[in-house]
Amino acid sequence: MSHHAAPADRPLGVGILGAGPVTQAIHLPALARLQDILEVRHIMDVDPAVASSVAARVGARSSTSMDALLGDQDVDIVAICSPHQFHADQVIAACRAGKKAVLCEKPFAMNGEEAARISAVSTETGVPIVVGAMHTFDPGWLAAERNWGDLPEYVHTIRSSIVLPPNARFEDFATEIVTRPAAGRPDYSDVEVIKSALRGGIMGLAIHDLPLVRRFTPDFQQIEVLQARHVRPFGYAVSLRTPTRVIELRAVMNGTWKPEWTFEAIADDSALRIDFTPSYVQAGSAVATFFRHGSETSTFGPYGHNGYEGEWRELAELARGTRPAPSAQSLIDDLTFALAIADATVASAAAGHASAAEKAGVSA
């Protein structure tokens, strides 16, 4: 394994596994703002045309195999932007390849067993892993964290509300996408479609904010689902509670042009609201606002960069050894929290569907 510090005057090399829209519209534009510290050197995608096309945009090598990228000595940091089911094995392989740091798009595993394997390998190899929960790296969130004092102890209500247009709207503001995946026409009368959509909603969308929710939920391991409703065409209305917290998750992805992405943590006398910028575009950071006693407010942000750029800045520091590695346990706790919510949400929706069908006397 090579853990040599990169020369301070040479940017660290980045290799990316998976060259889909997230890589094209999020990571490459973010990295283009950090050329003094990071340089894209290798792009891998199973589609050779996509790999070569995307790599050519940034003057990087391309390949169609993970091994080729992991064997590239010019790659110091590996970003895993492949489909979810490949994440765990690719994180482990990147750690074993002796890279300096690994970024894994969320979720970094699909079950607890995978998460435990990743944790063990990270501990064994000493390779720091960052999960792409970009809001935890957003300067607006970090400013809130520095200023919230004892608020997490007293919060009783947490809300995450996400209203977004289809991804393509912001992807097209960010770049020129090659080979966008075709959108399907789901059959909402099929409960399996609803279950899949809800799981996808939690593990693909809510998961951005679940690490934030967990920071305000000390008893996160005792989660109970009060309701789980699918929102068409894509979204959810999920109500949760623990013994000490109420958690409300809302998401609507419709044809609107107006994005609204908010996180709220509310106590008896004070509250925090964070308004995040939409993904894909370089629209600066979130704005965090504290409310106290009904009439006092204090605001932090906006700052110049978003959470994606924030996570790349942190990766560079981790790779150079100038920042301590994040807690693997924290990443596992975030994942198990998300998985527990996804499992319970799907189970609740399935039970509700069966009940509704029984009442209606039809297979709705």
Partner: protein, 277 residues
Amino acid sequence: MSGHYTVLATPAAQAAGAVAQTLASLPATFGPTAEGQPGPPDVLVVAGGPGWTAEALSAVAAGVRGVLVANPVPEDATELAGAADAAGTAVVLDLRWASNPALVGESTDVADARDAVRSAVGTASLLDSVATAAPATDPQRLLGEHLAALLAVTGPLDGVVVLRSDATGYTVGGRLANGAPFTAQGVLTAARPAGVDIRLYTADGGVAVQVPDPDAARPAEVRITGAHGELLLPTLYESAHRFAWRRLKDHLGASTQPDDLAGFARLTDLYATLAAT
């Protein structure tokens, strides 16, 4: 000061309806009952706590021309409605949020939140609403005020169930007429001003309604988002209290009957359903 209509309010009703400060903004129409004045006042103000329908019924029997009920709790008003109708008494309800002029306005020529929501609800994908009130507020009472505001703008709500209700608030779920989910949450906190927020999301945008408490004449905001952009309906710097009194003035002047009690019956029916679950 003397107005066209004399008004009598008990201390409880004064407090519940902020009567003195509200009538100070309608000085040519309403004024206090003179001490020793014989007979009933023109208008009696009733505090809307439990038992308000009986108190209003007595007022109708005593021959008042108008009754204004300050922030009524859900209660069967069938008998009151019948008596008021027979006597020609105008009964106007001053509801915490539902009486805000931005929700249901006075003119069919001017768009209001009800128009905006009802024209969009057919393509709704989600209605999400949050009511905020001070800690120690009775969550059941808050829920009544919240549902009154929702019913004012949305029309029927189906399958409504209380998912939780505790010292920090409540969560309610249900369906809109087109089957889309609706959620209503009550949050008890002093961190932010009290009010109700209603968000209807549709295929290409939606409607956002923010209604403040009636303790000041801060305007509600109604925003309609669509392919055209975002439209802010004209802001009305008039509290729910004052708008209720202005409606009463109009009915007294025209000798007409408001439909407040009929509308309130929908809330009472829904509330009774919830109480039974």
